[in-house]
Symmetry: C2
Subunit: 190 residues, 2 copies
DNA sequence: CTTCGCTGACTAACCGGTCAGCTACTACGC
DNA sequence: GCGTAGTAGCTGACCGGTTAGTCAGCGAAG
């Protein structure tokens, strides 16, 4: 009953994010999204055009959220890994979204350019840090970044951990292991 | 026209593996599987019962193939990582299958037991290797295994790399990076 | 009274699953 | 060797439920 376009759009987007994160593109149901948001299905088409277009919008918003929530620090890779770990742990949906995207959409040419650009910026910063001696230079910067990200996200399966005491302890142990491993990859041998 | 049950079953299973690897459970189409195998859709139901049951069978076969194709060697983690990398590079479907499974099926209780069992066997072997001084003991064995596997599979997105000279070079560079990284995690500091 | 936000009802296509029945192969009586 | 009955393998046609997407129109706000 709000009769407010921007608020409606936000509610639909939120509901769509949940639905896509849980079921993917093929498994998502437009009716379910509309119902969860408390609107009629048609509003989705008024605002976003189609199911596929909606997924694109949802996904881009998620990526933007990740990118500016955890900034890249070339001279502190362990810290970066730790923050990435934390973010994905507290936002399991976004990780699921990314995985659905890679499976159902593949890596399109348009994405490749964006990824390459973002990656080369990070690589360049990391290469500089390596040249300055702040980071061990044994691994090529581009590959090192991928390995670090991979380890930081190794445990994010989308299903949130039970919040028991034991569960929490396991999570902090994992976080510590990730940070420690990245330290071993980036610190010069004594 | 073969009129041969076992051969038919194998053909259907092959087609189903391709279809599920590419589209997941929700995105897979039974008609497409049957057509790809050169049979009528009904054969799928005669042999496998339902789409979901078919996926289970496909998935279990894939897991079995991975497990006995690349054996775990606690005292040579870099080698294990390299072999895992190679296998997933040459069998991109199986990795996709595993990812579809984790997204669409989640981690069910039945799986948890099997995973825990397989993991604890590996952990135990790795802990022994660490105690013997063959592997650096800085990281807990269970966590170390996950990190290693995660790095070894960091690049398997399911889309096979173009087989250009440049593509091949990039792949070998990645493989080298993985092995090297695992070495750094497992070799004692000099 | 006009416009924006919104709804309920509808549809055409799709999709998993079923069923009656056809066809080729086998076994067996002669 | 030869019909013939039985059966396993297989097919095309069908069905009911579901789903993305559409459309005409209603009601509130300015």
């Amino acid at each position: 009953m709000a009769r407010n376009s921007t608020a409606t759009r936000a509610l639909l987007l939120k509901a769509a994010t949940d639905e896509f994160a849980q079921h993917g593109i093929a498994g998502a149901r437009v009716d379910r999204i509309a119902a969860a948001a408390g609107y009629n299905k048609n509003m989705l088409y008024v605002h976003f055009g189609s199911k596929d277009a909606l997924f694109d919008i949802v996904f881009e918003a998620a990526v933007a959220e990740i990118v500016d929530a955890v900034p890249f620090t070339a001279d502190d890779l362990p810290g970066y890994a730790g923050r990435l770990f934390d973010f994905h742990f507290s936002h399991p949906q976004l990780m699921r979204l990314a995985r659905w995207h890679s499976l159902e959409r593949g890596v399109a040419n348009a994405d490749l350019a964006a990824i390459a650009k973002a990656n080369s910026a990070k690589s360049k910063a990391l290469a500089a840090a390596q040249a300055a001696g702040a980071v061990r230079a044994e691994l090529p910067p581009g590959l090192l970044i991928t390995l670090v990200v991979s380890m930081a996200t190794a445990w994010s399966e989308g299903t949130p951990e039970p919040v028991t005491t034991a569960g929490r302890a396991a999570v902090t142990a994992r976080r510590k292991a990730v940070v420690q491993a990245v330290e071993q990859l980036t610190t010069s041998r004594s």
